[in-house]
Amino acid sequence: MIVELAHFALALALVLSLMLATVPMAGAAKGRVAWMALARPMAISLCGLVTIALLGLVHAYALSDFSVLNVQQNSHTLKPWIYKITGVWGNHEGSILLWAWMLTSWMFFLAARDLALPAGLRARVLSLMGLVVAGFLSYILVASNPFLRLSPAPREGLDLNPVLQDPLLAIHPPVLYAGYVGFSVAFCFALAALIEKKVDPEWAEQLRPWVMAAWVFMTLGIMLGATWAYYELGWGGFWFWDPVENASLMPWLAGTALLHSVAALQKRGALKIWTVLLCILTFTLSLLGTFLVRSGILTSVHSFASDPTRGIFILVLLGLTAGGAFLMYGLRAPQIRIGASFRPVSREGAILLNNVFLFTFCATVFMGTLYPIFLSALELGSISVGAPYFTATLTPLLIPFAILMGLGPMLAWRETLPGTLSRRVLVPGALTALLALAVALMPLPGRPFTVVMFLAAGWILFATLADFYRKTHRLTALRSLPPAYYGMVVAHAGFAVLLIGVTAATSWNAEKISWMTVGERLSFTGREVSFLGVRPDIGRNYTLERAIFRVTEGADDPGYYLQPEKRWYPTQERELSETALHLDGFDITYAVLGDQDKENPQRRVVRLYHHPLIALVLAGALMIAAGGLMSLAKPRREKSA
């Protein structure tokens, strides 16, 4: 019954979203205040209806109602309750429903919050978002319905892939989706601005916090995914340039560019048309990411053949949404007045260059991800593009990008005289040179690339802190600086920290794969690893073998234990290795238990990894997200600064 209710709520939501897409929009066009005023209550009710639908599905999962096809195919009674709930978005239908729910939640905040938003703009933005929601709801109801019943109901479900039964992966999709979908606000703001032919600093000021919030979610979502990949897959890495990862990186890069250009527009009225285009582009890439991940086109181009309706439906949805927006852009962009002009050596200039870099990164990732797909679609053969391509194309660009990142905040809006700039560069430049000298005297192990990356990170840190000191060494300045400035300092420093972590972990990592018999010892990166034994155990919905290793450094060191597991999930007939890791400062040592020797059960394949400073990657990503969050604080005060 509850499932039918949820299904009905979703159908109602579709009707309401279509009304929302038309009535307030027409009202804004004709200047009818009453019609426009409908946008807010309609958006709030829409969110309510989709929430009912989502809760209905959650309820079915929580009670393991196997008369619902979607639940039967993705859940199991023995599954821990938390994974029963998160199983809602562990499958295609449920995750699209979550996607739609996120979209309506953003609408809810836009409608419910008391913003200084012009009534016409708010009505148009909500109306356009209603249109996007309508598209997705019709997809759910026509081609991807999670509420279909199964009769007779089986007694047991097929269970969720054990790789997905993990606390981090439980929250990774909602957080990432909140980011993906959050960019729809910017998308609709851009379209509304094109309709009104009005792109000005006030518009940018209204838009900026929404872009920032979506970007923070996106950053955290990617970070959670990478962390999960690091410890769960047990491959000794956190980023594999896998198309699914790239699908989330592309909108993040475009969103980062947008974040900067929208600031230039807010402060100086510059980069108007470009900002509008970026708004559309970022959400288009979000849609593309959803399409890539959710259509199954990535694992194999052929999976479309099995269910072409879904693939075509999502593609048409993507084409209509993005195509409509780009058409509108083509029609209206030439009529928008060009933004304020500026000198090349200025904050605007730095932001423009920053956008060029980020756009290039994004295009490079795009090519590397989609080229193999297109090649195969056109029957020109099949190729794989992997880490070597991305490392070779992206890392050289990182160096000028890092230099720019240090310089940008030192520059004033409109124009900075070369003399002023060179005075400001002096101290951080000298510090970086000192660092280079220190490295030359005490060579670091690793390739020249390692050193260059460390110097780049050093420069960003020195330059950012020098600028921070220059602006805050008089205490009165501390209060008058906008929160966005502190956010920028933290985020930029976070990027430097991330760069250090990535460089150290990839340059100095050590790994050892070997056969070990119980009782055996081996030395690994100056540590002694002893294999104490393997003990069977029973988990919640799996059985497991837990190996115990003791790791010591030197004779007196009490050391620590690593207990990697090998789990067997009987319902899915799947085996899964659970890594064990030990954090020491920012270094991580981790162990993975491999296969048994067929002749000698005491003998095992053991993989050991040591990644120096890898926790800095996580710390850096957290700082970047925290920076974004800080700049969300009280954006109004910025005007006086």
């Binding site: 198309p243 285009l277 181009v301 993005a322 780009f326 029609l331 099949s382 491999g594």
Partner: protein, 178 residues
């Protein structure tokens, strides 16, 4: 400026069209004729990919008394990752032997990879130069061949084997050979 404003729309149209090609035509790009079908398997000797494994050589394969599969794969290949579970399940159920040839890879990566994704292979040959793959007419991984007990190549599958490919394409070939 005016025409330039339509550039994003044009680019989008091209991208959507490229995605639409395989969708609308509905053809299965997995079916690609191979010049090797009906020919005996080429001569080769490959060292084992895993420490302690047996070398893989054509002379030994020719002594087989029933049909088997030869699968070209690599640890750097993403689609091979998805294929691995299907191959493992099929090998376990049907008892058909599957020989693996590891294409342009390193020993370190492949042993780690087989460890993580399961090893369905009766033996794994290590073709780091890709020479043997050329003799087989392989131009990418994964590719899978069905070879009969006389050592004649009967079928070639390009791209990852999915469960339905096995039912629809591979199994009928094997049935016929019996």
């Amino acid at each position: 400026m005016k025409a330039g404003a339509y550039m994003p729309l044009i680019l989008l149209a091209i991208i959507v069209a490229l995605f639409a090609v395989p969708l609308v035509q509905g053809r299965d790009p997995a079916i690609i004729p191979s010049a090797m079908i009906g020919k005996p398997l080429p001569d080769f000797v490959l060292p084992p990919a895993l420490p302690g494994g047996a070398p893989l050589e054509s002379a030994k394969l020719r002594q087989a008394d029933r049909p088997y599969l030869v699968n070209f794969f690599a640890s750097w290949c993403l689609t091979c990752r998805a294929e691995q579970a299907v191959l493992a399940a099929y090998a376990r159920e049907s008892g058909v032997l599957v020989y693996g040839i590891d294409y342009k890879d390193t020993r370190k990566d492949v042993s780690r990879w087989l460890d993580a994704y399961g090893n369905p292979f009766a033996a794994v040959g290590f073709d780091d130069t890709g020479r043997v793959a050329i003799d087989w007419g392989v131009y990418g991984v994964p590719e899978t061949f069905v070879v009969d007990s006389r050592g004649i190549i009967r079928y070639k599958h390009v791209g990852p084997l999915r469960e339905e490919d096995i039912t629809r394409l591979v199994r009928p070939v094997l049935e016929k050979l019996k």
